[in-house]
Protein backbone atom coordinates (compact mmCIF):
# COMPACT_ATOMS: atom_id res chain seq x y z
CA UNK A 1 0.00 0.00 0.00
CA UNK A 2 1.55 3.35 -0.94
CA UNK A 3 2.19 5.53 2.06
CA UNK A 4 2.74 8.84 0.30
CA UNK A 5 1.78 11.79 2.41
CA UNK A 6 1.58 15.19 0.76
CA UNK A 7 1.29 18.40 2.75
CA UNK A 8 -0.33 21.63 1.62
CA UNK A 9 2.39 22.97 -0.67
CA UNK A 10 2.96 19.56 -2.28
CA UNK A 11 -0.76 19.00 -2.80
CA UNK A 12 -1.12 22.38 -4.50
CA UNK A 13 1.88 21.64 -6.68
CA UNK A 14 1.55 17.95 -7.52
CA UNK A 15 -2.24 17.56 -7.45
CA UNK A 16 -3.18 20.80 -9.17
CA UNK A 17 -5.00 18.76 -11.82
CA UNK A 18 -7.28 17.15 -9.23
CA UNK A 19 -10.77 18.66 -9.71
CA UNK A 20 -11.33 19.25 -6.00
CA UNK A 21 -7.95 20.93 -5.50
CA UNK A 22 -8.48 23.04 -8.61
CA UNK A 23 -11.96 24.08 -7.50
CA UNK A 24 -10.90 25.03 -4.00
CA UNK A 25 -7.39 26.40 -4.56
CA UNK A 26 -8.47 29.94 -3.73
CA UNK A 27 -10.55 28.95 -0.67
CA UNK A 28 -8.50 26.36 1.13
CA UNK A 29 -6.48 27.06 4.24
CA UNK A 30 -4.94 23.61 4.42
CA UNK A 31 -4.74 20.50 2.28
CA UNK A 32 -3.35 17.08 2.88
CA UNK A 33 -3.17 13.83 0.95
CA UNK A 34 -2.62 10.79 3.15
CA UNK A 35 -3.58 7.11 2.89
CA UNK A 36 -5.00 7.79 -0.58
CA UNK A 37 -7.48 10.27 0.84
CA UNK A 38 -7.62 13.95 0.08
CA UNK A 39 -8.48 16.28 2.95
CA UNK A 40 -9.11 19.97 2.35
CA UNK A 41 -9.66 22.46 5.16
CA UNK A 42 -11.73 25.53 4.38
CA UNK A 43 -12.77 28.47 6.59
CA UNK A 44 -16.21 27.93 8.09
CA UNK A 45 -17.75 31.06 6.58
CA UNK A 46 -16.82 29.73 3.13
CA UNK A 47 -18.28 26.24 3.56
CA UNK A 48 -21.32 26.75 1.34
CA UNK A 49 -19.15 28.28 -1.39
CA UNK A 50 -16.69 25.39 -1.04
CA UNK A 51 -19.40 22.77 -1.23
CA UNK A 52 -20.89 24.43 -4.31
CA UNK A 53 -17.45 24.55 -5.91
CA UNK A 54 -16.80 20.82 -5.41
CA UNK A 55 -20.31 20.04 -6.62
CA UNK A 56 -19.59 21.98 -9.79
CA UNK A 57 -16.30 20.10 -10.11
CA UNK A 58 -18.15 16.78 -10.40
CA UNK A 59 -18.45 15.62 -6.80
CA UNK A 60 -22.14 14.90 -7.00
CA UNK A 61 -22.94 12.85 -3.91
CA UNK A 62 -22.83 14.09 -0.31
CA UNK A 63 -22.14 11.04 1.80
CA UNK A 64 -21.70 12.23 5.31
CA UNK A 65 -21.50 15.20 7.65
CA UNK A 66 -19.96 14.63 11.02
CA UNK A 67 -17.79 16.36 13.57
CA UNK A 68 -14.64 15.72 15.57
CA UNK A 69 -14.12 17.39 18.94
CA UNK A 70 -10.45 18.29 19.51
CA UNK A 71 -11.02 19.61 23.04
CA UNK A 72 -9.11 21.36 24.60
CA UNK A 73 -7.30 22.64 21.51
CA UNK A 74 -8.81 25.37 19.34
CA UNK A 75 -10.58 25.58 16.95
CA UNK A 76 -12.34 22.91 18.86
CA UNK A 77 -14.80 21.35 16.42
CA UNK A 78 -13.89 20.08 12.98
CA UNK A 79 -17.11 19.69 11.01
CA UNK A 80 -16.23 17.08 8.41
CA UNK A 81 -17.92 16.46 5.07
CA UNK A 82 -17.33 13.43 2.87
CA UNK A 83 -18.26 14.06 -0.73
CA UNK A 84 -18.15 11.42 -3.43
CA UNK A 85 -17.95 11.69 -7.18
CA UNK A 86 -19.75 8.98 -9.14
CA UNK A 87 -17.97 9.91 -12.37
CA UNK A 88 -14.43 10.33 -10.98
CA UNK A 89 -14.82 7.42 -8.54
CA UNK A 90 -13.11 9.25 -5.74
CA UNK A 91 -14.08 11.22 -2.68
CA UNK A 92 -12.90 14.36 -0.99
CA UNK A 93 -13.04 15.23 2.69
CA UNK A 94 -13.79 18.84 3.57
CA UNK A 95 -13.09 20.10 7.06
CA UNK A 96 -14.48 23.35 8.45
CA UNK A 97 -13.03 24.24 11.85
CA UNK A 98 -15.50 25.80 14.31
CA UNK A 99 -14.07 27.53 17.37
CA UNK A 100 -15.84 27.41 20.73
CA UNK A 101 -16.29 31.22 20.86
CA UNK A 102 -18.90 31.00 18.09
CA UNK A 103 -20.48 27.57 17.65
CA UNK A 104 -22.18 28.23 14.37
CA UNK A 105 -21.66 27.36 10.75
CA UNK A 106 -23.81 27.66 7.64
CA UNK A 107 -26.02 24.77 6.68
CA UNK A 108 -25.42 23.07 3.34
CA UNK A 109 -28.99 21.75 3.10
CA UNK A 110 -29.64 24.11 0.19
CA UNK A 111 -26.92 22.38 -1.82
CA UNK A 112 -27.63 18.82 -0.67
CA UNK A 113 -30.93 18.20 1.15
CA UNK A 114 -29.42 14.94 2.43
CA UNK A 115 -27.38 16.99 4.91
CA UNK A 116 -30.59 17.65 6.86
CA UNK A 117 -30.45 14.64 9.22
CA UNK A 118 -26.67 14.72 9.44
CA UNK A 119 -26.57 18.34 10.55
CA UNK A 120 -29.30 17.67 13.08
CA UNK A 121 -27.19 14.84 14.43
CA UNK A 122 -24.09 17.05 14.75
CA UNK A 123 -26.22 19.73 16.44
CA UNK A 124 -27.66 17.16 18.83
CA UNK A 125 -24.45 15.39 19.78
CA UNK A 126 -21.91 18.25 19.54
CA UNK A 127 -23.95 21.42 19.93
CA UNK A 128 -22.78 23.04 16.70
CA UNK A 129 -25.49 25.29 15.23
CA UNK A 130 -26.22 25.24 11.53
CA UNK A 131 -27.50 28.58 10.28
CA UNK A 132 -30.27 28.27 7.70
CA UNK A 133 -31.16 24.69 8.58
CA UNK A 134 -34.90 24.10 8.04
CA UNK A 135 -35.50 22.04 11.17
CA UNK A 136 -32.66 22.18 13.66
CA UNK A 137 -33.93 19.98 16.49
CA UNK A 138 -32.48 17.12 18.47
CA UNK A 139 -32.65 13.87 16.54
CA UNK A 140 -31.06 11.14 18.66
CA UNK A 141 -31.38 12.29 22.24
CA UNK A 142 -34.65 13.06 24.05
CA UNK A 143 -35.81 16.63 23.44
CA UNK A 144 -35.30 17.68 27.07
CA UNK A 145 -31.76 16.31 27.28
CA UNK A 146 -29.10 18.57 28.76
CA UNK A 147 -25.69 18.67 27.13
CA UNK A 148 -24.15 17.19 24.01
CA UNK A 149 -22.94 13.62 24.56
CA UNK A 150 -20.25 13.29 21.90
CA UNK A 151 -18.23 16.22 23.24
CA UNK A 152 -14.96 15.14 24.78
CA UNK A 153 -15.76 16.85 28.09
CA UNK A 154 -18.97 14.83 28.43
CA UNK A 155 -18.26 11.68 30.49
CA UNK A 156 -18.77 8.32 28.80
CA UNK A 157 -20.94 7.12 31.69
CA UNK A 158 -23.01 10.32 31.55
CA UNK A 159 -23.72 12.54 34.55
CA UNK A 160 -25.11 10.67 37.53
Amino acid sequence: MPATTLEKAEVLEQMAANPAVAALSSLLIDARFALNELTITVPKDQIVAAVKAVQAAGYNFMEDVTCVDWYPSEPRFHVTYHILSHSLKERVRLIAPVGSEDLSIDSITDVWPSANFYEREVFDLFGVHFGGHPNLRRIMMPDDWKGHPLRKDYPVEGYR
Binding site: A3, T39, M62, H86, R91, R93, R138, D143
Partner: protein, 417 residues
Protein backbone atom coordinates in the same frame (compact mmCIF):
# COMPACT_ATOMS: atom_id res chain seq x y z
CA UNK B 1 -36.33 28.20 15.03
CA UNK B 2 -35.08 26.86 18.37
CA UNK B 3 -31.72 28.22 19.39
CA UNK B 4 -31.10 26.60 22.76
CA UNK B 5 -31.79 23.24 24.32
CA UNK B 6 -34.50 24.76 26.54
CA UNK B 7 -36.50 25.72 23.46
CA UNK B 8 -36.58 22.15 22.36
CA UNK B 9 -38.51 20.65 25.24
CA UNK B 10 -41.46 18.47 24.28
CA UNK B 11 -42.08 19.08 20.64
CA UNK B 12 -45.20 17.10 20.01
CA UNK B 13 -47.54 16.67 17.14
CA UNK B 14 -47.98 20.46 16.85
CA UNK B 15 -44.30 20.91 16.18
CA UNK B 16 -44.36 18.22 13.57
CA UNK B 17 -47.14 20.07 11.81
CA UNK B 18 -45.07 23.23 12.11
CA UNK B 19 -42.16 21.36 10.54
CA UNK B 20 -44.28 20.18 7.68
CA UNK B 21 -45.31 23.80 7.04
CA UNK B 22 -41.64 24.58 6.69
CA UNK B 23 -41.62 22.16 3.82
CA UNK B 24 -44.26 24.30 2.16
CA UNK B 25 -47.23 22.09 2.97
CA UNK B 26 -50.86 22.65 3.65
CA UNK B 27 -52.12 24.18 6.89
CA UNK B 28 -54.27 21.52 8.60
CA UNK B 29 -56.72 24.04 10.04
CA UNK B 30 -57.72 25.34 6.61
CA UNK B 31 -57.83 22.18 4.61
CA UNK B 32 -59.25 19.85 7.22
CA UNK B 33 -56.42 17.41 7.11
CA UNK B 34 -55.78 15.01 9.94
CA UNK B 35 -52.57 14.24 11.76
CA UNK B 36 -51.98 10.57 12.27
CA UNK B 37 -49.37 8.93 14.44
CA UNK B 38 -47.80 5.67 13.26
CA UNK B 39 -45.48 3.85 15.60
CA UNK B 40 -43.10 3.75 17.44
CA UNK B 41 -44.66 0.34 18.01
CA UNK B 42 -46.08 -0.68 14.68
CA UNK B 43 -45.60 -4.01 12.92
CA UNK B 44 -44.70 -2.48 9.59
CA UNK B 45 -42.13 0.08 10.72
CA UNK B 46 -39.48 -2.64 11.13
CA UNK B 47 -38.36 -1.55 14.54
CA UNK B 48 -38.91 1.46 16.70
CA UNK B 49 -39.73 4.08 14.08
CA UNK B 50 -42.37 6.72 14.60
CA UNK B 51 -43.85 8.38 11.57
CA UNK B 52 -46.17 11.35 11.95
CA UNK B 53 -48.39 11.71 8.93
CA UNK B 54 -50.63 14.49 7.80
CA UNK B 55 -53.42 12.95 5.76
CA UNK B 56 -56.14 14.43 3.64
CA UNK B 57 -58.72 11.67 3.46
CA UNK B 58 -56.58 8.72 2.50
CA UNK B 59 -53.74 10.54 0.77
CA UNK B 60 -50.57 11.62 2.48
CA UNK B 61 -49.94 15.37 2.51
CA UNK B 62 -46.84 15.45 4.70
CA UNK B 63 -44.80 13.00 6.64
CA UNK B 64 -42.10 13.31 9.26
CA UNK B 65 -40.08 10.38 10.58
CA UNK B 66 -39.15 10.60 14.25
CA UNK B 67 -36.12 8.53 15.21
CA UNK B 68 -33.80 8.09 18.15
CA UNK B 69 -35.70 5.57 20.24
CA UNK B 70 -32.85 3.06 19.95
CA UNK B 71 -29.96 5.48 20.45
CA UNK B 72 -27.35 3.72 22.56
CA UNK B 73 -24.36 6.00 22.06
CA UNK B 74 -22.22 3.44 20.28
CA UNK B 75 -19.97 6.16 18.81
CA UNK B 76 -19.28 7.49 22.30
CA UNK B 77 -18.65 4.00 23.66
CA UNK B 78 -16.09 3.33 20.89
CA UNK B 79 -13.95 6.21 22.14
CA UNK B 80 -13.55 4.45 25.50
CA UNK B 81 -12.47 1.08 24.06
CA UNK B 82 -9.29 -0.29 22.54
CA UNK B 83 -9.37 -0.66 18.77
CA UNK B 84 -9.94 -4.42 18.92
CA UNK B 85 -12.70 -4.04 21.51
CA UNK B 86 -14.77 -1.98 19.09
CA UNK B 87 -15.36 -4.96 16.76
CA UNK B 88 -18.13 -6.52 18.91
CA UNK B 89 -19.81 -3.11 19.16
CA UNK B 90 -20.04 -2.86 15.39
CA UNK B 91 -22.19 -6.02 15.26
CA UNK B 92 -24.82 -4.42 17.40
CA UNK B 93 -25.44 -1.58 14.97
CA UNK B 94 -27.24 -3.70 12.43
CA UNK B 95 -28.47 -7.12 13.43
CA UNK B 96 -28.98 -8.16 9.82
CA UNK B 97 -25.49 -7.49 8.53
CA UNK B 98 -23.00 -7.86 11.40
CA UNK B 99 -20.27 -9.13 9.06
CA UNK B 100 -20.51 -6.04 6.85
CA UNK B 101 -20.12 -3.77 9.85
CA UNK B 102 -17.18 -5.83 11.08
CA UNK B 103 -15.58 -5.65 7.67
CA UNK B 104 -16.00 -1.90 7.26
CA UNK B 105 -14.52 -1.14 10.65
CA UNK B 106 -11.63 -3.59 10.20
CA UNK B 107 -10.83 -2.20 6.73
CA UNK B 108 -10.77 1.34 8.08
CA UNK B 109 -8.38 0.50 10.92
CA UNK B 110 -6.26 -1.68 8.63
CA UNK B 111 -5.94 1.28 6.29
CA UNK B 112 -4.67 3.42 9.17
CA UNK B 113 -2.23 0.68 10.14
CA UNK B 114 -1.35 0.01 6.47
CA UNK B 115 -1.75 -3.71 7.04
CA UNK B 116 -1.61 -6.17 4.16
CA UNK B 117 -4.39 -8.75 4.51
CA UNK B 118 -3.69 -12.27 3.10
CA UNK B 119 -5.74 -13.28 0.09
CA UNK B 120 -7.37 -16.20 1.89
CA UNK B 121 -8.77 -13.90 4.56
CA UNK B 122 -9.99 -11.50 1.87
CA UNK B 123 -11.81 -14.28 0.02
CA UNK B 124 -13.42 -15.59 3.21
CA UNK B 125 -14.49 -12.05 4.08
CA UNK B 126 -16.09 -11.65 0.66
CA UNK B 127 -17.79 -15.05 0.94
CA UNK B 128 -19.25 -14.25 4.35
CA UNK B 129 -20.27 -10.78 3.27
CA UNK B 130 -22.24 -12.12 0.36
CA UNK B 131 -23.93 -14.64 2.65
CA UNK B 132 -24.73 -11.69 4.90
CA UNK B 133 -26.28 -9.89 1.95
CA UNK B 134 -28.44 -12.94 1.24
CA UNK B 135 -29.38 -13.11 4.90
CA UNK B 136 -30.37 -9.46 4.96
CA UNK B 137 -32.28 -9.60 1.68
CA UNK B 138 -34.16 -12.69 2.86
CA UNK B 139 -35.37 -10.87 5.96
CA UNK B 140 -36.26 -7.85 3.81
CA UNK B 141 -38.23 -9.99 1.37
CA UNK B 142 -40.03 -11.92 4.09
CA UNK B 143 -41.06 -8.89 6.10
CA UNK B 144 -41.86 -6.77 3.06
CA UNK B 145 -44.14 -9.49 1.73
CA UNK B 146 -45.70 -9.91 5.15
CA UNK B 147 -46.46 -6.17 5.31
CA UNK B 148 -48.28 -6.47 2.02
CA UNK B 149 -50.17 -9.52 3.23
CA UNK B 150 -48.29 -12.43 1.65
CA UNK B 151 -47.50 -14.44 4.75
CA UNK B 152 -46.15 -17.57 3.12
CA UNK B 153 -43.02 -15.96 1.70
CA UNK B 154 -41.85 -15.08 5.19
CA UNK B 155 -41.68 -18.74 6.21
CA UNK B 156 -39.85 -19.73 3.01
CA UNK B 157 -37.29 -16.94 3.46
CA UNK B 158 -36.62 -17.76 7.07
CA UNK B 159 -36.06 -21.41 6.16
CA UNK B 160 -33.04 -20.40 4.05
CA UNK B 161 -31.97 -17.71 6.47
CA UNK B 162 -31.79 -20.34 9.17
CA UNK B 163 -29.20 -22.21 7.12
CA UNK B 164 -27.12 -19.02 6.72
CA UNK B 165 -27.27 -18.41 10.45
CA UNK B 166 -26.11 -21.99 11.07
CA UNK B 167 -23.17 -21.36 8.75
CA UNK B 168 -22.35 -18.22 10.74
CA UNK B 169 -22.59 -20.24 13.92
CA UNK B 170 -20.08 -22.72 12.52
CA UNK B 171 -17.43 -20.09 11.90
CA UNK B 172 -18.12 -17.68 14.72
CA UNK B 173 -19.94 -19.67 17.39
CA UNK B 174 -22.69 -17.08 17.21
CA UNK B 175 -25.69 -16.81 14.97
CA UNK B 176 -26.25 -13.09 14.82
CA UNK B 177 -23.62 -11.07 16.70
CA UNK B 178 -20.75 -12.82 14.98
CA UNK B 179 -17.70 -10.59 15.62
CA UNK B 180 -15.80 -13.01 13.42
CA UNK B 181 -13.55 -10.50 11.67
CA UNK B 182 -10.52 -9.15 13.43
CA UNK B 183 -8.26 -6.22 12.73
CA UNK B 184 -5.68 -7.97 10.55
CA UNK B 185 -7.78 -10.90 9.37
CA UNK B 186 -10.21 -13.39 10.85
CA UNK B 187 -10.53 -14.80 14.34
CA UNK B 188 -9.99 -18.46 13.36
CA UNK B 189 -10.01 -20.96 10.49
CA UNK B 190 -13.50 -22.15 9.56
CA UNK B 191 -14.17 -25.79 10.55
CA UNK B 192 -13.58 -28.48 7.87
CA UNK B 193 -17.25 -29.21 7.17
CA UNK B 194 -17.92 -25.50 6.63
CA UNK B 195 -16.94 -25.65 2.95
CA UNK B 196 -19.30 -28.51 2.04
CA UNK B 197 -22.13 -26.90 3.87
CA UNK B 198 -21.66 -23.58 2.10
CA UNK B 199 -21.26 -25.36 -1.25
CA UNK B 200 -24.53 -27.24 -0.76
CA UNK B 201 -26.29 -24.09 0.31
CA UNK B 202 -25.05 -22.09 -2.69
CA UNK B 203 -26.10 -24.93 -4.99
CA UNK B 204 -29.72 -24.94 -3.83
CA UNK B 205 -30.05 -21.17 -3.29
CA UNK B 206 -30.76 -20.05 -6.91
CA UNK B 207 -33.75 -22.37 -7.17
CA UNK B 208 -35.00 -21.12 -3.81
CA UNK B 209 -34.84 -17.53 -5.07
CA UNK B 210 -36.76 -18.68 -8.15
CA UNK B 211 -39.30 -20.18 -5.77
CA UNK B 212 -39.83 -16.83 -4.00
CA UNK B 213 -40.18 -15.12 -7.34
CA UNK B 214 -42.71 -17.76 -8.31
CA UNK B 215 -44.76 -16.85 -5.25
CA UNK B 216 -44.62 -13.11 -5.83
CA UNK B 217 -43.63 -11.83 -9.26
CA UNK B 218 -46.76 -12.84 -11.15
CA UNK B 219 -49.09 -12.37 -8.21
CA UNK B 220 -51.71 -9.70 -9.14
CA UNK B 221 -52.05 -8.42 -5.55
CA UNK B 222 -48.29 -8.09 -5.21
CA UNK B 223 -48.03 -6.30 -8.55
CA UNK B 224 -50.93 -4.01 -7.72
CA UNK B 225 -49.44 -2.97 -4.42
CA UNK B 226 -45.90 -2.46 -5.73
CA UNK B 227 -46.08 -1.13 -9.24
CA UNK B 228 -46.20 2.65 -9.71
CA UNK B 229 -45.89 3.23 -5.98
CA UNK B 230 -43.28 5.33 -4.18
CA UNK B 231 -41.46 6.82 -7.14
CA UNK B 232 -38.01 8.28 -6.58
CA UNK B 233 -36.17 9.95 -9.42
CA UNK B 234 -32.40 9.58 -9.85
CA UNK B 235 -31.85 13.28 -9.11
CA UNK B 236 -33.91 13.07 -5.90
CA UNK B 237 -32.13 9.90 -4.84
CA UNK B 238 -28.74 11.58 -5.17
CA UNK B 239 -29.91 14.80 -3.52
CA UNK B 240 -31.36 12.89 -0.57
CA UNK B 241 -28.34 10.65 -0.02
CA UNK B 242 -30.02 7.39 -1.01
CA UNK B 243 -27.59 4.53 -1.65
CA UNK B 244 -27.67 0.84 -2.42
CA UNK B 245 -30.60 -0.97 -4.06
CA UNK B 246 -32.99 2.02 -3.89
CA UNK B 247 -30.40 4.17 -5.72
CA UNK B 248 -29.84 1.52 -8.37
CA UNK B 249 -33.60 1.04 -8.72
CA UNK B 250 -33.80 4.75 -9.55
CA UNK B 251 -31.41 4.32 -12.44
CA UNK B 252 -28.02 5.28 -10.98
CA UNK B 253 -25.49 2.62 -11.90
CA UNK B 254 -23.30 2.78 -8.80
CA UNK B 255 -22.01 -0.07 -6.69
CA UNK B 256 -18.98 0.36 -4.42
CA UNK B 257 -18.05 -3.30 -4.87
CA UNK B 258 -17.45 -2.68 -8.56
CA UNK B 259 -16.62 1.04 -8.68
CA UNK B 260 -14.38 1.44 -5.64
CA UNK B 261 -13.40 -2.15 -4.84
CA UNK B 262 -12.25 -3.19 -1.39
CA UNK B 263 -11.20 -6.51 0.13
CA UNK B 264 -10.38 -7.97 -3.29
CA UNK B 265 -13.80 -7.44 -4.93
CA UNK B 266 -12.04 -6.50 -8.17
CA UNK B 267 -11.19 -10.21 -8.62
CA UNK B 268 -14.82 -11.32 -8.83
CA UNK B 269 -17.11 -11.23 -11.83
CA UNK B 270 -20.65 -10.05 -11.23
CA UNK B 271 -23.34 -7.86 -12.70
CA UNK B 272 -24.84 -4.82 -11.00
CA UNK B 273 -28.62 -4.90 -11.51
CA UNK B 274 -30.06 -1.48 -12.35
CA UNK B 275 -33.62 -0.42 -13.06
CA UNK B 276 -34.76 2.87 -14.57
CA UNK B 277 -38.26 2.87 -13.06
CA UNK B 278 -37.63 3.94 -9.47
CA UNK B 279 -40.77 2.57 -7.85
CA UNK B 280 -41.24 -0.04 -5.13
CA UNK B 281 -41.43 -2.75 -7.76
CA UNK B 282 -38.05 -1.71 -9.20
CA UNK B 283 -36.49 -2.01 -5.74
CA UNK B 284 -37.97 -5.47 -5.42
CA UNK B 285 -36.60 -6.48 -8.81
CA UNK B 286 -33.13 -5.07 -8.14
CA UNK B 287 -32.82 -6.86 -4.81
CA UNK B 288 -34.03 -10.17 -6.25
CA UNK B 289 -31.43 -9.95 -9.03
CA UNK B 290 -28.81 -8.98 -6.48
CA UNK B 291 -29.45 -12.19 -4.60
CA UNK B 292 -28.49 -14.22 -7.68
CA UNK B 293 -25.34 -12.12 -8.05
CA UNK B 294 -24.46 -12.69 -4.39
CA UNK B 295 -24.68 -16.43 -4.94
CA UNK B 296 -22.36 -16.02 -7.93
CA UNK B 297 -19.77 -14.03 -5.97
CA UNK B 298 -19.92 -16.37 -2.99
CA UNK B 299 -19.47 -19.38 -5.29
CA UNK B 300 -16.43 -17.77 -6.91
CA UNK B 301 -14.96 -16.98 -3.50
CA UNK B 302 -15.52 -20.54 -2.29
CA UNK B 303 -14.18 -22.26 -5.40
CA UNK B 304 -11.21 -19.94 -5.76
CA UNK B 305 -10.32 -19.88 -2.08
CA UNK B 306 -6.50 -19.68 -1.88
CA UNK B 307 -4.42 -21.48 0.71
CA UNK B 308 -2.44 -19.57 3.29
CA UNK B 309 -2.77 -17.59 6.45
CA UNK B 310 -6.00 -16.00 7.60
CA UNK B 311 -4.31 -13.22 9.54
CA UNK B 312 -1.77 -10.58 8.60
CA UNK B 313 1.82 -11.07 9.62
CA UNK B 314 1.73 -8.48 12.39
CA UNK B 315 2.42 -10.06 15.78
CA UNK B 316 1.90 -6.81 17.66
CA UNK B 317 -1.62 -6.38 16.28
CA UNK B 318 -3.00 -9.86 15.65
CA UNK B 319 -3.40 -12.21 18.62
CA UNK B 320 -1.09 -15.27 18.32
CA UNK B 321 -2.39 -18.82 17.94
CA UNK B 322 -3.27 -20.54 21.16
CA UNK B 323 -0.50 -23.06 20.73
CA UNK B 324 2.16 -20.44 20.02
CA UNK B 325 0.99 -18.41 22.96
CA UNK B 326 1.40 -21.43 25.25
CA UNK B 327 4.83 -22.44 23.97
CA UNK B 328 6.68 -19.28 22.92
CA UNK B 329 7.73 -16.55 25.29
CA UNK B 330 7.51 -13.82 22.67
CA UNK B 331 3.98 -14.75 21.63
CA UNK B 332 2.92 -14.78 25.25
CA UNK B 333 4.28 -11.25 25.67
CA UNK B 334 2.50 -10.05 22.51
CA UNK B 335 -0.73 -11.67 23.68
CA UNK B 336 -0.44 -10.04 27.09
CA UNK B 337 0.37 -6.63 25.63
CA UNK B 338 -2.45 -6.68 23.06
CA UNK B 339 -5.04 -7.77 25.61
CA UNK B 340 -4.00 -5.41 28.41
CA UNK B 341 -2.89 -2.27 26.62
CA UNK B 342 -4.04 -2.68 23.02
CA UNK B 343 -1.93 -1.46 20.14
CA UNK B 344 -1.18 2.09 19.06
CA UNK B 345 -2.52 3.15 15.68
CA UNK B 346 -0.67 5.92 13.77
CA UNK B 347 -2.41 9.28 13.87
CA UNK B 348 -4.62 9.99 10.89
CA UNK B 349 -8.12 10.04 9.49
CA UNK B 350 -9.70 7.41 7.33
CA UNK B 351 -13.06 6.92 5.66
CA UNK B 352 -13.89 3.47 4.39
CA UNK B 353 -17.04 2.89 2.39
CA UNK B 354 -18.50 -0.56 1.80
CA UNK B 355 -21.55 -1.69 -0.16
CA UNK B 356 -23.73 -3.15 2.57
CA UNK B 357 -27.07 -4.85 1.78
CA UNK B 358 -28.79 -1.53 2.41
CA UNK B 359 -26.37 0.79 0.67
CA UNK B 360 -23.17 2.58 1.48
CA UNK B 361 -21.88 1.77 4.91
CA UNK B 362 -19.00 4.06 5.82
CA UNK B 363 -16.74 4.19 8.83
CA UNK B 364 -14.87 7.39 9.59
CA UNK B 365 -12.09 6.62 12.06
CA UNK B 366 -9.85 9.29 13.54
CA UNK B 367 -6.73 8.23 15.41
CA UNK B 368 -4.61 10.45 17.63
CA UNK B 369 -1.83 7.87 17.85
CA UNK B 370 -3.02 6.06 20.99
CA UNK B 371 -4.55 2.60 21.47
CA UNK B 372 -8.10 3.93 21.59
CA UNK B 373 -9.90 5.49 18.63
CA UNK B 374 -10.28 9.24 18.99
CA UNK B 375 -13.50 9.24 17.00
CA UNK B 376 -15.48 6.57 15.21
CA UNK B 377 -18.38 7.68 13.07
CA UNK B 378 -20.66 5.38 11.12
CA UNK B 379 -22.30 6.57 7.94
CA UNK B 380 -25.32 4.34 7.79
CA UNK B 381 -27.32 3.80 4.63
CA UNK B 382 -30.75 3.61 6.32
CA UNK B 383 -30.26 6.96 8.06
CA UNK B 384 -29.97 8.80 4.77
CA UNK B 385 -32.52 6.67 2.94
CA UNK B 386 -35.15 7.49 5.56
CA UNK B 387 -34.95 11.14 4.49
CA UNK B 388 -36.34 10.15 1.11
CA UNK B 389 -39.47 8.67 2.71
CA UNK B 390 -41.46 11.88 2.41
CA UNK B 391 -40.59 12.35 -1.27
CA UNK B 392 -41.68 8.79 -1.99
CA UNK B 393 -44.95 8.89 -0.04
CA UNK B 394 -46.23 12.41 -0.69
CA UNK B 395 -49.52 12.45 -2.54
CA UNK B 396 -49.86 8.68 -2.33
CA UNK B 397 -52.32 6.63 -0.34
CA UNK B 398 -51.78 5.90 3.32
CA UNK B 399 -51.57 2.17 2.63
CA UNK B 400 -48.67 2.79 0.25
CA UNK B 401 -46.56 4.13 3.11
CA UNK B 402 -46.32 0.57 4.41
CA UNK B 403 -45.16 -0.69 1.03
CA UNK B 404 -42.59 2.11 0.73
CA UNK B 405 -41.15 1.58 4.22
CA UNK B 406 -40.82 -2.10 3.39
CA UNK B 407 -39.10 -1.35 0.10
CA UNK B 408 -36.37 0.90 1.52
CA UNK B 409 -35.40 -1.90 3.92
CA UNK B 410 -34.50 0.11 7.00
CA UNK B 411 -32.96 -1.21 10.20
CA UNK B 412 -33.57 1.09 13.10
CA UNK B 413 -30.61 -0.05 15.14
CA UNK B 414 -28.41 1.26 12.38
CA UNK B 415 -30.24 4.58 12.12
CA UNK B 416 -30.15 5.37 15.83
CA UNK B 417 -26.84 3.72 16.71
Amino acid sequence: MPTSVEDLINPGVDDVIADSKLHGNIDPAQDQTMVLNMGPQHPSTHGVLRVVLEVDGESVVALAPDIGYLHTGIEKTCEAKFYQQVVPLTDRIDYLCPMTNNLTYCLAVEKLLQLEIPERAQYLRVLLNELTRLNSHLVWLGTHAMDIGALTVFLYCFREREEILRIFEMVAGQRMMTSYFRIGGLSMEPPIDFYDRVRNFLKIMPEKIAEYENLLTGNPIWMGRLKNVGHLSAADAIALGVTGPPLRASGVDWDLRRDMPYSGYEKFKFEVPVSQVGDVWARYEVRMKEMYESVKIATQALEGLPEGRITADAPKIVLPDREQMKTQMESLIHHFKIVTEGFAVPAGQVYQGVESPRGEMGYFVVSDGTAKPFRVHMRNPSFATLQALETMCKGRLLADVVAVIGSIDIVLGEIDR
